[in-house]
């Protein structure tokens, strides 16, 4: 079985974000693999462990994206490809999806392409469905459990607002994985060494066989959210009942119920 897992590089989730001279800054916080993508890598690895086959990590990004790729390799992916093209800086999600879909075709397709649920930086969460649409494959997004997978079919549970939807889809298929799937493994010592030595081929957009897609969505202005003036008030009293009664009155005064 051939599986491709798409991984993105993002600022660490603990980063304090700011805007400096109109540019987004994460200070000295490290760049890491998108946390959701670790679940995607985990799912891809477990699928090949059960079915045999290889996992290829694919990322679109600049030099920085190498950290995400290294992490995926260290977890156990056998190969990786980086699409690194300065012309894609500032691309919107549909442009990114077009390039990823083209790269997937260029690799020679796959049985399964696995995505994270969402990137924790720009939070668009549409790349998996767009890539599925471009490839013409079924999209099985928000997978919380893979019940069964054969060479021709996958059965999975999807997490939706109302509960779980169980689906069966023909391969090839696009998946996105949510946290219920199971905790991602830590890279092993051997894995880290292997990843450090791995050579990662770099492609331009032209190498994927398509013309540069034009970006449609732009973000002319990024700003810090307005400071919210919160007046902090500590509710005190001589016993829990008194505190609770005071707090209840305060909550009622806010007129939010």
């Amino acid at each position: 079985m051939k599986i491709i897992v798409c991984v993105k590089q993002v600022p660490d989730s603990a980063a304090a974000m700011s805007v400096e001279d109109g540019k987004i800054s994460w200070g000295d916080a490290p760049l890491v693999i998108n946390p959701w993508d670790e679940y995607a890598v985990e799912a891809a690895l477990r699928l090949t462990e059960a079915q045999g086959g290889d996992v290829i990590a694919l990322s679109l990004g600049d030099e920085n994206a190498k950290e995400a790729i290294k992490h995926a390799l260290a977890m156990g992916c056998s190969e990786a490809i980086l699409v690194n093209d300065p012309a894609m800086a500032g691309a919107d999600t549909q442009a990114v999806a077009r390039v990823l879909a083209a790269a997937i075709q260029k690799i020679g397709g796959a049985d399964i392409v696995v995505f994270g649920k969402q990137a924790i930086d720009s939070d668009v969460g549409a790349t998996p469905s767009m890539v599925a649409r471009l490839l013409g494959w079924p999209a099985v997004t928000l997978v919380s459990e893979i019940v069964e997978c054969t060479q021709s079919e996958i059965k999975a549970s999807r997490a939706m607002e109302e509960g779980r939807q169980q689906v069966a889809a023909e391969l090839p298929v696009v998946l996105s994985i949510v946290k219920d799937y199971g905790e991602p493994r830590y890279p092993s010592f051997m894995g880290i060494r292997k990843a450090a030595r791995a050579s990662v081929p770099e492609w331009t957009v032209a190498d994927t066989g398509i013309d540069l897609p034009s970006a449609v969505v732009t973000w002319p202005n990024v700003m810090a959210p307005p400071e919210r003036e919160v007046t902090n008030e500590i509710i005190e009293g001589s016993n829990p009942e008194e505190i609770a009664a005071k707090l209840a009155d305060k909550i009622m005064e806010e007129k939010v119920l």
């Binding site: 999806a97 023909e170 902090n232 909550i251």
Partner: protein, 347 residues
Amino acid sequence: MANRVWAYVDQFKSQALLASWEVVFTGRKLADQLGSGLTVLVIGSHLDALAKAAIEYGADEVLLVDDPSLEDYRASPYAAALAGAVGENKLDIFLFPTTTRGREVAGMAAIDLNTGVLVDVTEIKLDGDKVTAIRPVYAGKLLSEVVCNAKPQLVTLRGRAFEKPVPDAGRTGTVTKLPTVMAEDEIKLKVTGYQAAEGGVSLTDASVIVSGGRGTSNNSAEPPAEITDESEKEIWKAQQGFILINDLASVLDGAVGASRAAVDAGYVPYVHQVGQTGKVVSPDLYIACGISGAIQHLAGMRSSKVIVAINKDPEAPIFKYARFGVVGDLYKILPPLTAAMKERLEK
């Protein structure tokens, strides 16, 4: 001439999700500003009641793709139905709710209609027919202004961020049924089952959320003797706290939330997780019990209107964001608080 503003209604088992009516209602306002009518598209099965409601919330024209094969949501036939409905119509704006299905259908529509999508926006401004939207990024640590330089401008609206929709039973509009686009044998995905979530109010719709964190495990009660495993003991202890949290949530008609620490330790399932890698919520009232206020948790709830924190540690970062704080033990505060709220709400 076709309407220039469209809205998509996300439904499940022929019931619209609340966010759908916010989208129709907002669509109505934008259509009025543009001097256009509003078209509402509903895809599914048994949709007549939804068509009527869509008109009451602001539709002039309702397009229904109503077919048994569309009973359960599946991405490809829904996306194909949407692209078919749009056809050659020239529209300026197409609004969707940011539900799991709405986000997905909108993404696929961006590909089919050769345009882009502004996702999970909290504000919309119109300049002529050009949308400038505001969307939180980095889990709300920053806001960005976004525009879509192609048409239709696809936009998904965050739930509860726009005006509360009010139906008007006197409104009139047309209803047109459109044929389905994909035959069953062309669809490579079957829905084989469905398992309802445990009851309770959904986090994203809730106007009140009561959340618990790792502090729930700090409970002096002793677990029953048959529980010997240490982590089982911890879970038992913490779950007593979640029972209290659930009691308060019920009195407030609210939902139960949790920190990642509480979810990872197995106190409650992941559907309850609030934060950067859980749900981003914005209720009118958020009560955090035994939660320290880590940046990833704050990212998911800090836009709540009124935040209340109950925490033993006066230095806990959550207090900086809380309108009201109680420095104390959640096990001591919650029972009388639930009783006091019950009394005041006359329940």
